[in-house]
Point group: C2
Chain length 270, copies 2
């Protein structure tokens, strides 16, 4: 049995969303010690991206009611990562309709963030395009994260992808917001996203939730069908039943650049 | 999207192994109330088989150290199910090398059990064949559950299947004892088991463990590739991280004969 699961794909990149998605369970009230531990674990494990929180509107989400990672002010991020002179890229998520992105997302030269991930529902696609263009012009890598795609009509998804394909987003992420999808649906969507994104060279990503204990399985399925960007979180920490657990994903990936022991260490200690 | 996951396969049968596999976490010390609740839930849900325990040797497993479901004496089973005049079939598992099967497995006419599942490691295949023949001659439906197949050599598995194909076992079960398999490996094994079993008309089953949170995903994978016998347990109760959770499996199957509410009720109450 020479089988593909023995080898690995060097172009596959992993994003840790422990603090960003995990923060949805505690209003992002993580202490610095925890966020630093996740950051250090990402570095030690060889993870490619760490999503440190949201760029959420301070008008809609009052800073005295939410932790620092709801807004990701520059000085708060730097308190954890300094100038982040490491191979680890830092990302923040901005939600359509919930971010004052024109002002709160700084020009890249003033920020230690590398990537902005724009999250939106299908009816917010036009707003998302404005946000993607803005962040790209400010100098960031940008991804397009169409949420709750399982609840959208196929025609709507097609139209959204047609528009998103023309944006400067580097990646179209398949987002199973409620963990309701089975492997066959993941396969259909990954192939569809590739179809729309191929002319403009876009990567496809996967962000899975664990409501049916399928987050890991669906992440594997997306990878098999070519997704090169995979989200996971330490112990699967995330909204509801959580995300794809990093400790399982790293164990699955055969890429020698990844080291699993630091993940186990952070799970033991936190 | 007209997709196969909208329909169902009437020949697919579900086995509940809550008491048998779940008993491995507490030496089968379940009280009658719990076992009755599982039995009633199987009836209400429309589950096809309930595995109520092991037929384990009383010399190796002293009755004063284990609960009743380690040995499944006839009077204990009848205390729960009476004459079981229901569509639910009752099964017990007998392990090669750990059962006094010649004496402890009664002729079918003296037992309320319908099916004996013979479990064995690949090096015990010859012993398993004797057990399968014995139980079949006593009047039971019999299945062959080759355990820990992920750790066996391919040649060994081939030889075992060649021998098992000639036995009167109705079903060859793919058993992922440590929950270590990925979907591709499940696919290969299910197809292989079918290949060996097809001339003698055998069904293929799946018994998955959840060590990588893949028990449900691997069970679905096996079903997709034609497995018509699927094991699951209430809340996934079972050895180690447990089995495929019944509440997820019943939710996945579209067969109207199954009702999911009784499963949720037993989860709430126990």
């Amino acid at each position: 049995m020479t089988a593909p699961w023995i080898t690995y794909r060097p172009e596959l990149k992993v994003l840790d969303c422990t603090v960003r998605d995990g923060g949805l369970v505690n209003d992002h009230m993580f202490d610095d010690r925890f966020v630093k531990a996740v950051y250090q674990t990402c570095l030690d494990t060889g993870i490619d991206y760490m999503e440190i929180g949201y760029k959420a509107s301070k008008k809609l989400f009052a800073p005295d009611k939410f932790g620092a990672w709801k807004h990701c002010d520059e000085d708060n991020i730097r308190r954890i990562v300094g100038e982040n002179e490491t191979p680890l890229k830092l990302t923040a998520m901005a939600d359509a309709g919930k971010a004052d992105w024109r002002t709160d997302i700084l020009p890249k030269k003033d920020s230690v963030l590398d990537t902005i991930r724009v999250a939106f529902y299908v009816h917010q696609t036009t707003a998302a395009v404005d946000m993607i263009n803005d962040a790209f012009q400010k100098g960031y890598e940008v991804t397009a994260n169409l949420m709750a795609v399982a609840a959208a009509q196929e025609k709507e998804v097609d139209q959204a992808l047609e528009i998103l394909a023309e944006t400067p987003a580097s990646t179209l992420v398949v987002v199973d917001s409620w963990g309701s999808m089975y492997a066959e649906q993941v396969e259909i969507l990954v192939k569809k996203y590739f179809q729309y994104g191929k002319d403009t060279g876009k990567e496809v990503g996967i962000h899975a939730h664990n409501n049916q204990q399928l987050a890991f399985a669906n992440t594997i399925e997306a990878i098999i069908h070519g997704a090169n960007r995979a989200d996971a979180s330490m112990a699967g920490l995330g909204r509801g039943p959580g995300n794809c657990p990093m400790e399982l994903l790293i164990g699955f990936l055969r890429d020698p650049k990844f080291h699993i022991r630091p993940v186990y260490r952070v799970l033991e200690e936190h």
